[in-house]
């Protein structure tokens, strides 16, 4: 049993009358690949937002490697090694794909970004191209974001999040908006790229085939609560999960 890298303890969060998190407690082992399911508005993105510091829980604690990160900013949490991708890719629209990647690399060095060193120095451009190649999107390197297909944008969003030394990667619906036949190839690419960096992965997904194929364990969210936390087979055959989330009663 490997050490726990990410722990949440009784996280609660409400937005007015809406409860987006109820007593959310998980302990994620280092190197694990977990998935998160749940119908729209179940609180999956809220969980990602809380872990990455964008939203502060009303009560509860979040620990990363034993450090309390509950009150840290997204910037500090990113620096510690918790990264995320976005349900709607967050890219810089007026920059090309390569430039987007260069921004990410410039920020994620051991030293602070420089006022002198060129962002486009050959070594950094090569490194950016290598990362794009890992995701097989390098052919689009000189395109602006508006010209990219949805799947490519998703991949770039993930590629940007991965620079530096990520320890935990939270992927918010990596395959949403992507044509059905491209979902598996896309997940293959992502998992392959991530396995090289040896990171702990938690991804939000609606497609049960992808859940079964890629994750070791599933968290099922319903109304802000985790109603199941087990291996995919177990969770997907759970009566309550079938009734409230997957809608498949066999």
């Amino acid at each position: 049993m490997s050490a726990t890298i990410l722990t949440t303890e009784n996280l609660n969060k409400s937005f007015g009358a809406v409860t987006a998190a109820r007593e959310v407690s998980v302990a994620v082992p280092d190197g694990a690949v977990w998935s998160m399911i749940g119908s729209n508005g179940a609180g999956k993105t809220t969980f990602v937002n809380m872990v990455t510091g964008y939203i502060k829980p009303d009560t509860g604690r979040i620990l990363f490697n034993g450090t309390d990160i509950t009150k840290m900013s997204p910037r500090q949490i990113t620096r510690l090694g918790i990264r995320r991708s976005f349900q709607i890719p967050q890219l810089c629209a007026e920059l090309t794909m390569l430039e987007n990647m260069l921004v990410s690399l410039s920020i994620n060095r051991k030293h602070k970004p420089s006022y002198k060193r060129s962002a486009r120095r050959p070594s950094q451009v090569d490194e950016a191209m290598d990362t794009l190649k890992r995701f097989r999107i390098e052919n689009y390197h000189d395109r602006l974001m508006s010209e990219l297909p949805a799947g490519v944008r998703k991949l770039l969003d993930i590629a940007m999040a991965i620079s530096g030394t990520p320890r935990v990667m939270l992927l918010d619906e990596p395959t949403s908006g992507v044509a059905a036949e491209e979902k598996f190839p896309l997940m293959d690419l992502v998992m392959e790229a991530l396995s090289k960096s040896n990171v702990t992965v938690m991804f939000v997904e609606h497609d049960m085939d992808i859940i079964t194929r890629y994750s070791e364990r599933v968290l099922a969210f319903y109304d802000g609560e985790i109603i199941a936390n087990d291996a995919p087979d177990q969770v997907l055959s759970d009566k309550i999960v079938q009734q409230y989330i997957t809608g498949t009663t066999k």
Partner: protein
């Protein structure tokens, strides 16, 4: 995006630009040399506006630093008799730098219209204060004695030429530094901030720090611009901080766009020329000709005149 057509090596480009400016200066008539000196000094302030524009911020109060630079040097000249242009510039840098270090971090939390209005109010506060302070000359302002250059006391055409040469050296050096900054890691991050702050924070760097630093760089450029203008005109008054003055800097920044630094100084020269000639021929409606001119530029070159000076690496069409 774009790549600069000038040599990639920045020192080389600077040396080249300086050589051209010096040669041009030697043949310019006095009136044109004065016009160029003024245009370049104001171009420094506009360059500051351009720096902020790259991060998506518009400052409508850059006259604040223009005025601070002008008064800092003007007052020292009057009070303790400093007339050396290098010392005066240093004073302008220090004064504008200190004020920017105080306000930069505060303003860096504001965006859009709030940032624009706050910069505007700061400059108008300075305008109001200076107008009321009779020790500092009130609305009349004060006279600045002719500048000296490391012990050299030129007169007549030599004075104008020396100040012109000094100005050229300043814009080339500062321009080179700003180009280096634009091309640097931080420079690219500034562009990213303009597009998507959330992403930049999530990559792990502080947007606020980035903007505050840009604000300080812009302020120092403004301060130096004010010192040179004050020395060239031989007079400083609160109008330096007035909102219409700041408006002109925004005008030049929009005119030139943020891709090319020479374009900013060219844009400033164009404005000065349009102003001088319109003033001559349509003394009461020159602002109107200026407005029409800006309209035409925006319609023809939405990214500014600088887009003419930079080579656009248009993405190839899909096969």
């Amino acid at each position: 995006m774009t790549e600069f057509i000038f040599p990639r090596s920045i020192p080389l480009a600077c040396a080249l630009a300086l050589a051209v400016l010096v040669v041009v200066g030697l043949i310019l008539p006095d009136w044109a040399m004065f016009l160029a000196t003024m245009a370049f000094s104001k171009g420094m302030v506009a360059l500051g506006v351009v720096c902020l524009m790259r991060s998506g911020l518009v400052s409508f109060g850059q006259g604040l630093y223009y005025c601070i630079g002008a008064y800092a040097s003007g007052l020292m000249a009057t009070w303790i008799g400093i007339s050396d242009i290098f010392l005066m510039s240093l004073l302008g840098i220090i004064a504008s730098g200190i004020v920017a270090v105080i306000f930069g971090p505060l303003l860096a939390t504001y965006r859009g219209i709030f940032f624009a209005m706050l910069t505007l109010s700061l400059s108008m506060i300075l305008y109001g204060t200076l107008s009321k302070m009779s020790v500092l000359g009130g609305t009349d302002g004060l006279n600045v004695s002719a500048p000296t250059f490391l012990g050299y006391h030129p007169e007549g055409r030599a004075l104008g030429l020396s100040l012109y040469m000094f100005t050229c050296a300043v814009i080339v050096v500062y321009g080179g530094l700003v180009r280096t900054l634009f091309d640097s890691e931080r420079g690219l991050i500034s562009l990213a901030i303009r597009d998507n702050e959330l992403r930049v924070e999530y990559l792990g760097t502080s947007v606020r720090t980035e903007i505050a630093v840009t604000y300080i760089v812009a302020a120092i450029a403004g301060g130096i611009g004010g010192v040179i203008s004050g020395a060239a005109i031989g007079h400083v008054d609160p109008e330096y901080a007035y909102w219409t003055t700041s408006g002109e800097f925004v005008f030049v920044a929009i005119l030139s766009g943020y891709f090319s630094i020479p374009a900013v100084f060219l844009g400033s020269v164009v404005l000065e020329i349009v102003r001088s000639f319109s003033n001559l021929y349509f003394p009461n409606t020159w602002q109107m000709s200026l407005g029409i001119f800006l309209l035409i530029v925006i319609l023809l070159f939405p990214k500014g005149l600088g887009s003419l000076l930079s080579r656009s690496k248009k993405p190839e069409k899909k096969q």
